[in-house]
């Protein structure tokens, strides 16, 4: 436990000593809750259409596939046509792309990024490394099956899929969203303890709250 996170006694300006517990005082420790869609199906379909039409990807290249995602924004592939856009902060992003192998260290950051995104949010895994560890199947520091740690909506095959494959993949994702089957966020909320247990089993220096708002 890092010293700055340790419990400590602090003297206020009026001389009164009181205890500051960083994990409790600095972070909100509320668990995620299942968020149901709009009551009327038509409104939910319309929202799903809008969500599929403006798919904002979080600019967080986790593995070797990130290099493939850059050309999406260039004239040749031009993802803008499909309403897809980079967003620098997870707050405003809807899609987290895990591109290739995911080391435990990056998993910790990916979890934090994923949890700071707003419901509904989608995860897309690239290549076999996110399915069964791929060629890093016996590596000591990568995770073998992404689905145990984050709810994945779509996998795109290819050691590392080319931009066209990514675009096709995103079209499939759009179909899922329009169909209303991309409810990864709610799944994460329902089986939150299971996910958390898997994550804590792999990440040993756990110095953050259970759910990073």
């Amino acid at each position: 436990m890092k010293p700055e996170l340790m419990k400590r006694m602090v003297k206020g300006p009026d001389g009164v000593e009181f205890e500051v517990e960083p994990m409790r005082d600095y972070y909100c420790d509320a668990p995620p809750t299942v968020q149901h869609g709009a009551y009327i199906k038509i409104v939910e379909d319309f929202f799903n259409w809008a969500r599929s039409q403006s798919l904002w990807i979080l600019g967080f290249g986790t593995g070797c596939g990130a290099i493939e995602m850059r050309p999406l924004m260039t004239p040749r592939f031009d993802a803008y046509r499909y309403g897809i856009q980079w967003r620098p902060t997870p707050r405003q992003a809807n899609l987290l792309v895990i591109s290739g192998y995911l080391s435990v260290k990056t998993l910790k950051r990916a979890i934090r990024a994923y949890e700071q995104m707003q419901n509904p949010k989608y995860v897309v895994g690239l290549g076999s490394c996110t399915i069964n560890g791929g060629m890093y199947w016996d590596s000591y520091n990568t995770i073998k099956c992404l689905d145990q740690y984050l709810p994945v909506d779509l996998y795109i095959t290819g050691c590392m899929p080319r931009p066209e494959a990514l675009l096709a993949g995103f079209e499939d994702l759009k179909k899922l969203i329009r169909a209303g089957q991309a409810e990864g966020a709610n799944q994460y909320a329902e089986r939150f303890d299971w996910y958390k247990a898997n994550q804590k089993q792999v990440i040993h220096d756990w110095d953050m709250p259970d759910y990073n708002w």
């Binding site: 700055e4 009181f18 972070y27 707050r91």
Partner: protein, 1054 residues
């Protein structure tokens, strides 16, 4: 009436009687001495009472039964009665003070003291020149004896130096007397005065002139003139304080009166020599007193300087005419009482350094005594020095002696400087010595009594001089002014608990406004409301202090009294008296802050400097008349009018801290106490503006060497606004930021005035009202936060919005108002500003002001962000909301701001029509809710409603859409997928506008501070160089005296 001769006879009889008593009966000898001194004081007091009440007329006492020229005669008229009373009283109380020393020395010491006092009275009474010499020698020998009473290590060498120089003086005096006798044939002063014009041939009158020169230079030497006064300063430093009191008050007075008698003989030819020596001594004495650290030596320099000033006044008798005795008397009496008091006070302390006087702080009484004496010496109202200085300055200006006027004011400013610096040490410095044994001797009543009597005498003199001024010269007696009496009454009520006094103060202010609001015109009504009701509102915040809070309420009420009298004053004298009262009151208020001592000193120096400029301006404008109605400033003669305008404008601008005269404001307003800052910043700055308004209303546009003075004022105002706001941006201390912002806002108001058109003035008034409300609110808010968080550094605070919501609301409304964003009243000010500049014919100054506008945005956002938003630090997690009594006035101010934003007409309508009579075209028309000028229109109610409606609909829409927002804590931020380290490292506040400093930082180089520090350093080095003149060697002092005689001889050019 018993003959005044008994003063001499009784003293001598008592002295010889003491000779008879045996050594052992020492305890009997002391009462005899006191009885003799008491009888002498009673005698002169009865003569004074008889002469003053007219029941007796001035009388000449013949000795040896023959008429004067052939025998010695004494005269007892009003001046003699006053001076002998002063000498005898000083002698009596010094004898009381010297009880232990006299009892230790035995009866001989008492006899010497008695003879000394008798000799001093003799000098004042005698009309015979040789008899004057005899009494003078008696004083010399008595001084030689009494110096030995002191246990100072160097008393002996001081006494010896004194005797050496006195020998030389007596030689010159004797030769002068004998040759004068030979030329005129008589030794009687009046006889000589008649004989002098009768000297027919040139030879005789030439011989007499020479003889008179010797006599005159010897007597002037007794007054310790500048180059030749080393010997006197050693006496002041080494002698027993009680004797120094006699030496300074008594000997100085007697010698001065002797010189005055001699001037009767000499006639007008010698007046300018006396003035020359006097003024040189005054300025040089004060200058050399600056670097002094020993208290008694400083008092020595100060008394030498004061006596020099009085000599200069005597030298001006040709233009002062019958006021000479009023002025010289006022200065002399306040000098004598103050010096005697200060020396007696120094006797109570063991330490001799100025800082050791900090021990006086334990009791309020000695501090009050010191304040009285310092005020008397520096000539502050209501003491006699103030009336005297006013008359002197007016006569000098009337007869065009401006260089002398400047020197007198310059010397007085330096004197006020080192006195108030000393007072600052007393209140604020820690005494260096160990604090175990009590170094202040309060238990001995016979030492404390004289000081108290001196204080009582000081205030009595203040009242008497007030009466004299009102009866003789038509000035109003300050002590009878109701507001001042109300303020001084708080001195007596200081033992009450704070909240009682606070309620009394508020009630007093409100009652005064209720009683007098009918006789203000629209313009003064605004200032009256701000000074009285505004003051009462700010005083609400003073309820948060518990205990007795000694000294706060007299100072605060003095300031408010000064401001109220300022508005009601219609003659120049009342105006100036009120101006000085509020300066003094605010100085004591500011001095209460913990670290405010250096800043309070720079404040009082700038303010007094400004006040002296104003006095000089009034004097020149008066053209010899003792006082004049303010309105008649309009028809001042052409060649003087621009100079008067310049002097008065600079004087008033020291109070509104225009650029160049602003360096006192940040320190003074930042270091003042929580509830003093709003008073001083929100209310006091308006006094300067009121002064400028009176000036501009009366004198309008002035030309000096072809330059339009109001145009220069415009540029100064614009620069002040820009640089004030710019410097505020880079401040780390919250209160300093607000202080610099005040400078900027005052720049805006000054700009409005300098435009000299209808809307310009209206803008200035809007700024006056706005600035009072939001500055008082912001200072209270920041003060409350500083009280709770224990610091004023903004980067140490942060995230207090949850813990201090009310303060946040106050500051939020405040910054919206200050920045001029539409819904609130700041926008009104900006709108009037735009219409004003369209109407005016100048073009360029507006550009500077346009830049100053948005800069205000920077420091306002910095203020609210670094304190209330951003990351909450660990030690501030348990901070409570500001005390109730500090938050309440803020909420009232928020309501006031919103009211003034929605209905500006309430305050501005009447004053807008009132301004029509000075600036007919360009007025506003107030149709319903809409205000139209001849350029644009503005509907405050509509704006407020529209913005409110839009805001509420959007807010409602967001609430509906974003119902279930999850409240999170301070570290739930997207820190590029990492964990923030600590609140201190994630709160961006220190050097908030770093890029801005790179771009425009060069404009905030502290040039003005450097300029003023070099000026003060130059004065100190001049003082140090001058001090090297006194190398402590008695012979050198004899050299100095002879050199002085020879130089004056050649200068007089006989």
């Amino acid at each position: 009436m018993t003959s005044p001769l008994y003063i001499i006879a009784v003293a001598l009889a008592a002295a010889f009687l003491l000779g008879l008593l045996r050594e052992q009966w020492r305890s009997l000898a002391y009462p005899v001495t006191l009885a003799a001194l008491a009888f002498m004081s009673w005698l002169s007091a009865s003569w004074l009472w008889a002469l003053a009440s007219g029941s007796a007329s001035p009388v000449d006492i013949y000795t040896a039964g023959t008429a004067p020229p052939f025998a010695i005669n004494l005269r007892m008229a009003l001046p003699e009665a006053v001076l002998t009373l002063l000498i005898n009283l000083t002698g009596l109380f010094s004898a009381l003070y010297l009880k232990s020393a006299l009892l230790a020395r035995g009866r001989r010491g008492m006899a010497v003291l008695l003879v000394a006092i008798m000799a001093l009275s003799g000098i004042v009474l005698t009309r015979d020149i040789f008899n004057l010499f005899v009494f003078l020698e008696l004083v010399v020998i008595a001084t030689g004896g009494l110096v030995l009473l002191s246990d100072h290590a160097h008393a002996l060498s001081a006494g010896f130096k004194y005797l050496v120089v006195s020998q030389v003086i007596s030689i010159l005096l004797l030769i002068g007397i004998i040759f004068a006798y030979h030329a005129t044939g008589t030794l009687n002063i009046d006889g000589m005065a008649e004989a002098v014009p009768g000297l027919q041939n040139a030879g005789a009158s030439q011989a007499f002139e020479l003889a008179f020169f010797l006599m005159f230079i010897a007597l002037v030497a007794e007054l310790k003139p500048f180059p030749a006064n080393g010997w006197a300063l050693d006496i002041y430093e080494a002698a027993h304080p009680a004797f120094s009191a006699i030496f300074s008050a008594g000997a100085g007075t007697a010698a001065l009166y002797a010189v005055d008698k001699l001037l009767l003989i000499g006639g007008p030819a010698w007046l300018d020599m006396a003035t020359g020596v006097g003024i040189v001594t005054f300025v040089a004495g004060n200058l050399l007193a600056l670097p002094q650290s020993n208290d008694r030596r400083l008092l020595g320099y100060s008394s030498v300087a004061q006596i020099g000033l009085i000599l200069a006044v005597l030298g001006q008798r040709d233009i002062l005419g019958e006021d000479t005795y009023f002025i010289a008397g006022g200065l002399l009496l306040s000098h004598a009482v103050a010096k005697a008091g200060l020396f007696w006070l120094s006797g109570l302390l063991a330490g001799r350094q100025l800082v050791d006087w900090a021990d006086l702080r334990e009791r309020p009484m000695p501090v009050f005594a010191f304040v009285t004496f310092a005020a008397m010496l520096s000539g502050l109202p209501p003491f006699p020095g103030f009336y005297a200085k006013w008359e002197l300055v007016h006569h000098l200006a009337g007869s065009g002696r401006l260089v002398l006027l400047a020197l007198v004011l310059f010397g007085a400013l330096i004197e006020a400087g080192y006195l108030f610096r000393w007072f600052g040490y007393i209140l604020k410095r820690e005494p260096p010595g160990e604090a175990d044994f009590c170094r202040v001797i309060f238990d001995k009543p016979h030492r404390v009594l004289p000081v108290m009597v001196a204080v009582a005498a000081g205030w009595a003199l203040a009242f008497v001089w007030g009466e004299l001024a009102s009866s003789l010269l038509g000035r109003s007696n300050l002590l009878l002014a109701l507001p001042l009496l109300f303020a001084l009454s708080f001195l007596l009520l200081d033992w009450l608990p704070a909240w009682v006094k606070n309620s009394l103060a508020i009630a007093g202010l409100v009652a005064f406004f209720a009683a007098t609001w009918t006789d203000y015109d629209a313009l003064r009504m605004i200032f009256a409301i701000i000074f009285t009701l505004g003051g009462a509102l700010t005083l609400l915040a003073s309820y948060h202090v518990h205990g007795r809070r000694v000294g706060f309420y007299p100072a605060a009420m003095l300031m408010f009294a000064g401001m109220v009298m300022l508005i009601r004053a219609d003659t120049s004298f009342d105006f100036f008296a009120a101006w000085e009262l509020l300066t003094v009151g605010s100085y004591f208020l500011i001095l209460r802050g913990k670290h405010s001592e250096p800043h309070a000193l720079s404040y009082i120096l700038f303010s007094l400097g400004g006040a002296f400029l104003i006095m000089a301006g009034f004097a020149i404008a008066a053209q010899g008349a003792p006082q004049f109605a303010l309105a008649s400033l309009a028809h001042v003669a052409a060649p003087f009018a621009p100079w008067v305008f310049l002097l008065l404008a600079i004087g008033f601008m020291t109070k509104t801290a225009a650029i160049g005269l602003h360096i006192w404001l940040p320190g003074a307003h930042a270091e003042a106490e929580t509830d003093v800052s709003p008073m001083v910043s929100g209310i006091l700055l308006k006094a300067g503006l009121y002064g400028l308004m009176v000036l501009l209303l009366a004198m309008g546009k002035q030309q000096l060497y072809g330059i339009e003075l109001t145009h220069v004022l415009l540029w100064v105002a614009a620069l002040t606004a820009l640089l004030g706001n710019l410097m505020a941006v880079f401040q780390e201390d919250a209160k300093r930021l607000l202080a610099y912002s005040s400078i900027g806002q005052m720049g805006y108001a000054l700009f409005g005035l300098a435009l000299m058109n209808h809307l310009g003035w209206l803008m200035a008034l809007v700024f006056v009202i706005n600035h009072y409300i939001y500055k008082a609110m912001l200072f209270l808010a920041v003060g409350g936060v500083a009280k709770r968080t224990g610091t004023r550094e903004m980067y140490r605070m942060g995230g207090l919005i949850r813990l201090m919501p009310l303060s946040f609301i106050a500051v939020l409304v405040g910054i919206i108002a200050v920045s001029g964003v539409p819904p609130l009243s700041g926008f009104g000010g900006r709108w009037v500003f735009y219409n004003a500049i369209l109407a005016s014919d100048y073009r360029l100054p507006m550009v500077v002001l346009f830049l100053a506008g948005p800069i205000a945005f920077l420091y306002l956002f910095r203020l609210i962000y670094t304190i209330f938003l951003g990351q909450l630090k660990d030690e501030l997690r348990r901070v409570k909301e500001a005390p109730f009594w500090i938050v309440l006035p803020q909420m009232i101010y928020v309501a006031l701001l919103i009211a003034f934003a929605v209905v500006p007409g309430l305050a501005l309508h009447r004053v807008d029509t009132y301004l029509n009579q000075f600036f007919p075209e360009g007025g506003l028309s107030w149709a319903g809710g809409e205000i139209t000028s001849n350029y644009g229109y503005w509907n405050p109610v509509a704006i407020m409603i529209i913005v409110g409606v839009i805001f509420c609909t959007v807010f409602a829409w967001l609430l509906f859409v974003n119902r279930r927002a999850q409240p999170v804590k301070q570290f739930n931020i997207v820190f590029s997928a990492e964990r923030p380290f600590r609140p201190e490292t994630t709160h961006f506040a220190w050097n908030f506008f770093a890029p801005y400093r790179k771009a425009l930082g060069f404009l905030t180089q502290p040039l003005v501070t450097i300029f003023w520090t070099t000026v003060t350093d130059l004065l100190h080095t001049a003082g140090d160089l001058g001090r090297r003149l006194y190398n402590g060697n008695g012979q050198t002092y004899a050299f100095h005296f002879l050199a002085f005689v020879v130089i004056v001889f050649f200068l007089v050019g006989l």
